[in-house]
Symmetry: C2
């Protein structure tokens, strides 16, 4: 028994909807074999890949970015601890950055929100590195003064 999983088995075990699994496959994030019937059969390592995808989404990464990371895993053999471990260094750093930003936000919240400087200081608290700066729709980030019409009064 090679222990191949149907799409719904994977869906139940991963918490990722079957439709999402097809979507991920279409996007090249995961792969499957086919049974004679044409039905998908997933190998078990897909579960770890999915764990990684869910994980990375919680960190705010887009599927495209996640795809880039997953591409670093080998195609020629089932990924081993070492393969995943190669990814984990940069990831720890990434998480640390995000935590640091949240700490800054928290500090800013406590320190500034009641003193009137929030609207002037938030720019220094928010790290725009990740998703900002992309063109098209999506939230922008706070920038400093740029405008002539700056009063001396508190905002």
């Amino acid at each position: 028994m090679e222990s191949l999983l149907t799409i719904n088995q994977v869906a139940r075990r991963s918490g990722v909807a079957a439709s999402a699994l097809r979507y991920y496959e279409e996007k090249g994030l995961i792969t499957s074999e086919r049974a004679g019937s044409g039905h998908r059969r997933f190998r078990r390592p897909v579960l770890r890949r999915l764990a990684f995808i869910v994980f990375a989404q919680r960190l705010g990464m887009s599927l495209t970015e996640i795809g880039v990371e997953l591409a670093k895993l080998p195609d020629d053999h089932v990924p081993k601890g070492q393969d995943w471990a190669r990814l984990s260094g940069p990831w720890s750093a990434r998480i640390d950055e995000r935590i640091a930003e949240l700490e800054r936000l928290k500090l800013g919240l406590a320190k500034c929100i009641s003193c009137g400087c929030l609207s002037l200081e938030l720019c220094k608290l928010v790290n725009p590195a990740d998703r900002a700066g992309t063109s098209g729709p999506g939230p922008r980030f706070w920038v400093g003064e740029e405008d002539g019409a700056v009063g001396k009064g508190n905002d």
Copy 2:
């Protein structure tokens, strides 16, 4: 000089695009007066409201959720330190939760990714409270075993 700001002044000072400001106003997140010409005139406190919106977005909140929070601010007077401070308690807690989740993720990454248990343990690391559980599109979260087809082998 009452120091009312035009939409582009607000846009420059907040880093939020003018189109987004109109959108926020439409959604009831901010308000403006009108000049005789029909042009929007924003009062200065809108800048702090916008700071709060940008801030909350960085925490992963939707505009709808942010609207609920902003509704807690008084309409009858310019929000003061105390008004903002009333919000800050729950917010600190919220940030702490998020930080705690990231710490768990990081720990899980370091501890589990190389030992083969990741796909079984992530469920305990990821806090689904925030955005998961919503119906419709969007990412799902990892759930535990639910399925008969569980092998004893490592995934």
